[in-house]
């Protein structure tokens, strides 16, 4: 009995901490900035793939024992840069237009999924060459004063021209260095990240195994939450972020560079998604669709917790994680065994997918009574 209870609590917390880690970045991007980022799951997936690449790169070297820490840093940097590009390239034009943001970021998520399926040196060369030609030309031409008038002409000429040059070069290089250059990096199959030796196995207490990987994720989650709290409450950039969140126009009037703050906030949220992806890769194999498994859950956590409140997200993640585990495992069935109809009901829901059905039904019921979530707060309605 004791071991069952311990096991239940541990598994619930560990499930909740994965949810929380995944939701933390979203709580910042969606909660603080009000941006609905459907590509958040894909940023996690990129973090997981970064972990895989770091693992492969360090295999056989003495650093392999601690590769997971290097992977964490790399995943944070890679996804933060992706987030920065996404904010600068797409989202900043859509502030204050949630529907368009939702559609655009969903499109980005599809692009990212296909990207990991078909990325090869050839593709990287083509994209890099296109960017170099197109933005290089733009940088040169934009210094002319009459650029705004000629913009349409510039775009119609330069886009096909750079694209043709890039694709031609890519194809020529592809035929010259055939197998190595066109070989897909990952292809559509799932890849596996092997945890370093010290993260395998578990820690036995009272007959239950406490998996080291899950303990590591719990510790990582706590570190991230503390780090985010510290950053938001004790640094000058954190103060700026909180100020812009609450009153964008007045913050600008005080001299706060709001565009820089937006970019930084988004990069931070994306970087946290990368960390979550790194953690997720320890739990199972990683594929192009990994992100989609998490996006709904993470939005649930943020909405249940109350948009704009980190404390709400923490409690919501733990609650949803524990509820998911308790319903999905047989714990509740055993507990309610004396009352036959109740235990039958729980038995019906005690598979992973049916548990999700019940949890979402509970969330819907909860939101009927508290539409603002656990800790409702007036979030920022983005205006730009």
């Amino acid at each position: 009995m004791l071991s069952g209870l311990l096991d239940g609590i541990f598994s619930g917390i560990s499930l909740g901490s994965v949810l929380l880690l995944a939701a933390l970045g979203l709580a910042i991007v969606f909660g603080l900035m009000g941006v609905i980022n459907m590509a958040h799951g894909e940023l996690m997936m990129l973090g997981a793939y970064t972990t895989y690449m770091v693992q492969n790169a360090l295999k056989g070297t003495p650093l392999f024992g601690i590769y997971i820490f290097i992977a964490l840093i790399a995943a944070f940097i890679v996804t933060a840069i992706f987030g920065l590009v996404l904010e600068r390239g797409v989202i900043r034009y859509l502030y204050g237009r949630p529907l368009e943001t939702l559609l655009a970021t969903w499109g980005v998520s599809l692009i990212l999924q296909q990207l990991v399926r078909s990325v090869s040196w050839q593709l990287v060369t083509i994209v890099a060459l296109f960017c170099l030609l197109f933005f290089g030309a733009m940088w040169i031409v934009a210094r002319r004063t009459d650029f705004e008038r000629a913009r349409g002409w510039f775009l119609t000429i330069m886009i096909p021209l750079s694209a043709a040059a890039a694709i031609a070069t890519g194809n020529v290089l592809g035929t010259l260095y055939k197998p190595a250059f066109t070989k897909l990096w990952f292809d559509a199959r799932n890849v596996d990240v092997t945890a370093p030796k010290w993260l395998r196995g578990g820690f036995p207490i009272a007959g239950t195994q406490f998996s080291y990987a899950r303990i590591f994720i719990i510790v990582l989650t706590i570190a991230c939450v503390v780090g985010v709290y510290w950053f938001l409450n004790n640094t000058s950039w954190g103060l700026r972020i909180r100020s812009v969140t609450q009153n964008r126009t007045m913050s600008a009037c005080l001299g706060i560079p709001t565009k820089k703050v937006d970019a930084l906030t988004f990069a931070l949220g994306s970087g946290l998604a990368g960390l979550a992806g790194c953690a997720v890769s320890l739990l199972g194999s990683v594929g192009p669709n990994t992100g989609q498994n998490y996006i709904v859950d993470t939005f649930m956590v943020v909405v249940v917790g109350g948009v704009g409140k980190l404390a709400g997200s923490i409690i919501a993640a733990l609650a949803i994680g524990t509820a998911n585990y308790l319903i999905g495992s047989n714990t509740l069935v055993d507990l309610t065994a004396p009352i036959k109809p109740l235990s039958d009901t729980f038995a019906f829901f005690s598979t992973i997918s049916m548990a999700k059905v019940l949890v979402f039904a509970l969330i819907i019921a909860f939101l009927q009574f508290r539409p603002g979530g656990l800790f409702p707060q007036k979030g920022r309605t983005v205006d730009a």
Partner: protein, 250 residues
């Protein structure tokens, strides 16, 4: 210690170059023409008051000055340099301290954090983010409640906080939008005294939008607006009862 110590004193003006120049400004909300060919000038160390009834475009004028609204034509010059292409936050760092209508104190930040945010307008931010004692000399009420949330203050306290916050950035031009609106008379007198003291001791220019007659009389110069245009201006000492009747909503 007076407010005019070395750290807070901006350059004392000895030229007659205007601090702020507004030339032929035209502003639209969609298709409705709000400001029509507005011209005005604020000289260094002077307090200029913009008067007019509700809805004539006074606040629009100040919002355009801060870059919150984009004008369709016209020019804005701060200290001789055009600021029309600058963003709002750049204008703040160029030395315009803005106290908007409705105060706009950041609600879920403490008073201290609100004041610290005022330092954002400084070009070189001090390493130690401290609030100079002069601020508390001007507004003693703030010192006792540094850790309270900005949104929990009363209207008058929020107004004092908003002015103090603008002063933290050591502006060259302080822009006040109806600082006495909806505030009890005793606090109005305190705010008036504080603004007068700021001008005397630091020599910064003040652009004020105001309905409260007693406060209007403190200014050196007035501009009167009607239906989006400047219709009268002159020294406030010559502000006759006729003009007041016509332009102030009393």
């Amino acid at each position: 210690m007076s407010y005019a110590n070395a750290t807070l004193e901006p350059t004392k003006p000895d030229t007659d170059l205007p601090m702020l120049e507004v030339n032929d400004l035209n502003v639209y909300y969609g298709e409705s023409h709000i400001l029509r060919d507005v011209n005005m000038t604020v000289f260094p160390g002077k307090m200029v008051c913009l008067i007019g009834r509700n809805g004539v475009g006074k606040t629009t004028m100040l919002k355009t000055l801060m870059g919150i609204l984009k004008p369709r034509s016209g020019n804005l010059k701060l200290d001789g340099h055009s600021i029309i292409a600058r963003t709002t936050d750049q204008r703040a760092r160029l030395g315009i301290g803005y106290v908007p209508q409705g105060r706009e104190v950041i609600p879920r930040l403490t008073i201290k954090e609100n004041l610290i945010l005022g330092l954002e307008a400084l070009l070189e931010r001090p390493k130690k983010q401290e609030i100079p004692e002069e601020i508390f000399e001007l507004f003693p009420v703030l010192k006792t409640m540094l850790s309270r949330m900005g949104g929990d203050l009363s209207g008058g306290q929020q107004q004092q906080l908003a002015i103090a916050r603008a002063l933290m950035g050591r502006p060259r031009l302080l822009v006040l939008d109806e600082p006495t609106e909806g505030i009890q008379p005793s606090i109005i007198l305190e705010i008036e005294a504080a603004v007068r003291r700021i001008i005397e001791t630091t020599g910064i220019s003040v652009l004020l939008v105001e309905q409260h007659l007693h406060f209007v009389r403190q200014a050196d110069w007035y501009y009167a607006m009607q239906k989006g245009s400047m219709v009268a201006s002159g020294p406030t000492s010559q502000l006759s009862n006729d003009v007041i009747q016509q332009f102030l909503a009393v």
